[in-house]
Every structure is written in C-alpha cells, then in structure tokens.
C-alpha cells in the first residue's frame, strides 16, 4: 500500500472519466427502458387473465432468479447477434440492464399499487367513479409517490450491476479498471479508484433521493 502509484491513476484518469460517463449512460437507459417495460409487466402480472399474468410471472421469476452475469452473457452472445447481425456490447448492456430491472420494477409497481389502502378504491368507487377512473385519479397518483424511493434504489442497483458490462467489453468504468489492472498487474490502484467512483455515484444518488423523498413527503 505504501507504493500507491498515483502517477498510474493520473494516466488512467481520462479513461475513468469516459468510463464513468458510459456507466451513467447505461444506468439511465436501463432505468428508463426498464420502467416502461416494468410497468407493462407489472400490469400483466396483476391481470386476472392467465395468458397475461403467467408469462409476466415467469419473466419476473427468470430475471430475479438467475445471476445478472448469466443474463448479460446470454444476451450479448446469443440474443443480440441474430437480431443485430453482430455483437454490440453497449446494446447488450442496455438490453440486459433494462430487462433485468424491468422484473424488479414490475414488482415495485405492483407493491406500490397494493400499498394504497383499500379504502381509497372503495371511496372512489362509492362516489360513482369506475375502476379506470379510480386508478387514474386516485390510486396511481398516490402509488407513484410511493414508488419513487424503491425506484431510486433500483437505479443504485443498476449503477452497480452495469459493472458486469465489462465482461462483454463495454468500455464502462469497471472495464477500464480491469484494463488498467491487466496492463500494470497492480490491483489496489485501479480497483480502489473504481470503487471510489462507484461510491461517489451511488452516495450522490442516495443523497438526491433522500432530498426528493423529504420534499415529496412534506408536499
């Protein structure tokens, strides 16, 4: 530890910056697409019709029940090539992160809706509003507010999971850490630096989230 080579870090600084930008980009893409997709799957799972709810259940079970590492390798080498006619590590990372987070977001969505007191739906229905109106004007506005904290957590998880994109050579933060390690056969410098950057990203995000939450709760 005494011979910590700051000069090597300085040399790799620009790559870490580039990597961090991609990490953030992948995570944002993942959370956005994952949210849209997750809402659909969540809706599907809540449906009484089995042709919708069963596939949604299987989807969720698969993506929550298998390691993200398997998912990203499968998507990169087996799913993307037949579609794109070749591999594309960034596309694979975005697809994998989106599909994976969609499974978690589907559950967040469902839990958010189910956390709203039954009395809200009943009051709304007893005023003559139909199921759709009650959902749109009464249940969803309240559920969305409750979904923000777990969605924020999911975003943090995504930032961390995006590090696995290094395995398929997407040049995000972790990738540059491994490249640096491969070049100099040193471990502390690259990995501590990478860990610190991830920590800054996730802690900043939690900080923003807690601010947002306290603002929402006073509203």
């Amino acid at each position: 530890m005494l011979d910590f080579r700051w000069d090597l870090l300085a040399e790799y600084g620009p790559f870490f910056v580039k990597g961090t930008v991609l990490t953030i980009g992948l995570s944002i893409a993942g959370i956005l697409i994952g949210t849209v997709f997750g809402l659909l799957i969540g809706l599907g799972k809540m449906m009484k019709n089995k042709y919708f709810s069963l596939p949604a259940k299987w989807y969720i079970a698969f993506f929550r029940g298998t390691p993200f590492m398997v998912q990203i390798l499968l998507i990169h080498f087996a799913v993307i090539p037949p579609i794109f006619g070749g591999t594309n590590s960034i596309a694979a990372a975005i697809v994998a992160l989106s599909l994976n987070s969609a499974a978690y977001i589907a559950e967040i969505f469902r839990a958010g809706i189910q956390s709203i007191d039954r009395g809200q739906m009943e009051a709304s229905r007893s005023l003559g509003m139909n199921h759709m109106q009650s959902m749109v004007y009464v249940i969803l506005p309240q559920a969305v507010k409750r979904m923000i904290p777990p969605l924020g957590n999911q975003f943090i998880v995504l930032i961390k999971d995006s590090s696995l994109a290094a395995l398929v050579a997407a040049p995000e933060l972790m990738y540059w850490g491994q490249v640096m390690q491969g070049q100099y056969y040193r471990v502390w410098e690259p990995y501590l630096a990478v860990a610190a950057i991830y920590l800054v990203l996730t802690l900043s995000l939690s900080f923003l989230l807690s601010r947002l939450e306290s603002r929402l709760s006073t509203e």
Partner: protein
C-alpha cells in the same frame, strides 16, 4: 527456499518432491480445460521437464493474474501457461530458458479485407486483456484505442469475432491456429505478419532467485538435445519445432 515453501511442495513415497504449478487454463492448446481436466502442451511439457529434473508436479488452475501473485508470494513453485518472457517481468521474476517460440497472428473471417497488420487500423480488434497480443496492437495503433476490445480471456475474444462483434482477433499463433484447425466450419483464417509482430519466447515462471531455475534449465536443455521435446511438440502441433529459433 523460504519458510512456507514446505507448505507448498510435499514429498511423495518415492522421495520425489511434488511441486505446485499454477496456470491459467483458458489458453488452448497450451493449457485448457477438457471436461474439467487441465490439459495441453504446457501441462505435458512441465511434467516431462520436472520429471527430468527429479520432481513430480501438481498443476492447478488459478487464473491469469493470480498466477503471478502466487509465484511472487511463493505459495506456488512454478507458473506456466504461455507466459512470454519480457524485461518488465524479469524485474520481478526469474524465467527458465525459452521453451517455446511464438509470434502473434491475426484471426479473421474468410474473405475479410484484412491482409496484414496495417489493415487493422480502424478495425475492431478483440484481444485477451493484458496479453502480448494487446501490447502488439497498442504499439501499432496507440494505447487504449477505442477500437480495441479487451476480454477476460481469448475464448471470449474469439467468441466476439464469431458473433460479428469484432473484425479480427490478435493472439498467439498457436492459439489461433489451434482454433482454426478445430473449428473448420467457422470459416475463419489466420494471417501472419512477421514485419508487424515480433517473435516471443515462452518461459517457465519462477520466483526471483529460485533454486529451481538452474535445475529446470538443465533438464530443458537435455530434452531439447535428446529429441523428447521435439516429440512432444509434434504430438501437439503437427509440425516440427524451430529448435534453432529457440536457442537464439
């Protein structure tokens, strides 16, 4: 010898010491896994040369980077697995005399416009992270060139090429030739480029000032002279070794 060396090597019933050999078994045909067994040219070679020197060996797969950590920390006696001898590594480790002559080659799909290393400029090249193949490309086209994709091992790099994510793979000649030979249906071909890539020599990795180095050097020389090396080589590579090149 160091104090913890006793932990590492043990003596068996014939009084022969068993050495702990560490390797990265994802580097066919030198060392790789075949249904869970570590096999390859390097594995047979190290057993033979160790036998010649009066030792038994136990080969263990630990991965590429840990291999260096273990030999340096003397928790392993020997590292092997297509390890190129270079000056940087010599600062920290001892190497045996060269036991293999290698040169980087380019693996491309048949019909690729790439004919030589100069054609690789602006093409996507997949390599194994931290190998001499990577250094070779970086010395030609700049360090951390964005077209260079670095994977954990050659397997993933070749996979990337096969799936259309890279235009070429640069790796040791034996690795790419072995691949093409075993997978003719993949329609890949090998391009050699002597002007772009330097010759490289593989050595057995020892800790600095290891006593084993001399014993193994002598054993290796004996194998080279008595033809045992050539036999082993031909068994694995179908052609004769360039013994003169090795002795350079």
């Amino acid at each position: 010898g160091t104090s913890d060396k006793s932990k590492v090597s043990s003596s068996n019933e014939n009084g022969k010491k068993t050495l702990r050999v560490v390797t990265n078994a994802a580097y066919a045909p030198f060392v790789y896994m075949d249904k869970g067994e570590i096999v390859g040219f390097d594995v047979e070679f190290i057993s033979a040369v160790a036998k010649e020197a009066g030792y038994d060996v136990k080969v263990e797969h630990v991965g590429w980077e840990p291999l260096f950590v273990e030999v340096k920390g003397k928790t392993a006696d020997i590292g092997i697995g297509a390890i190129t001898i270079n000056d940087e590594r010599k600062q920290t480790y001892d190497f045996s005399a060269a036991y293999f002559l290698s040169v980087n080659e380019i693996l491309v799909p048949e019909g690729s416009p790439i004919k030589s290393a100069t054609d690789l400029k602006d093409k996507v090249v997949a390599v194994s992270n931290g190998t001499t193949g990577q250094s070779a490309i970086e010395s030609l086209y700049g360090k951390n060139n964005s077209k260079l994709k670095k994977f954990k091992d050659n397997n993933l790099a070749i996979m990337e090429l096969k799936k259309g994510g890279a235009d070429a793979v640069v790796a040791d000649n034996t690795v790419v030739e072995e691949y093409v030979k075993n997978n003719p249906k993949d329609n890949l071909m090998v391009i050699a480029d002597d002007t772009a890539f330097d010759k490289e020599f593989y050595g057995i990795l020892f800790a600095k000032d290891s006593k084993l180095k001399d014993e193994f050097d002598q054993a290796l020389k004996k194998m080279l002279d008595n033809g045992e090396y050539a036999n082993l080589y031909e068994k694995w590579f179908d052609y004769k070794p360039d013994l003169e090149g090795l002795k350079e």
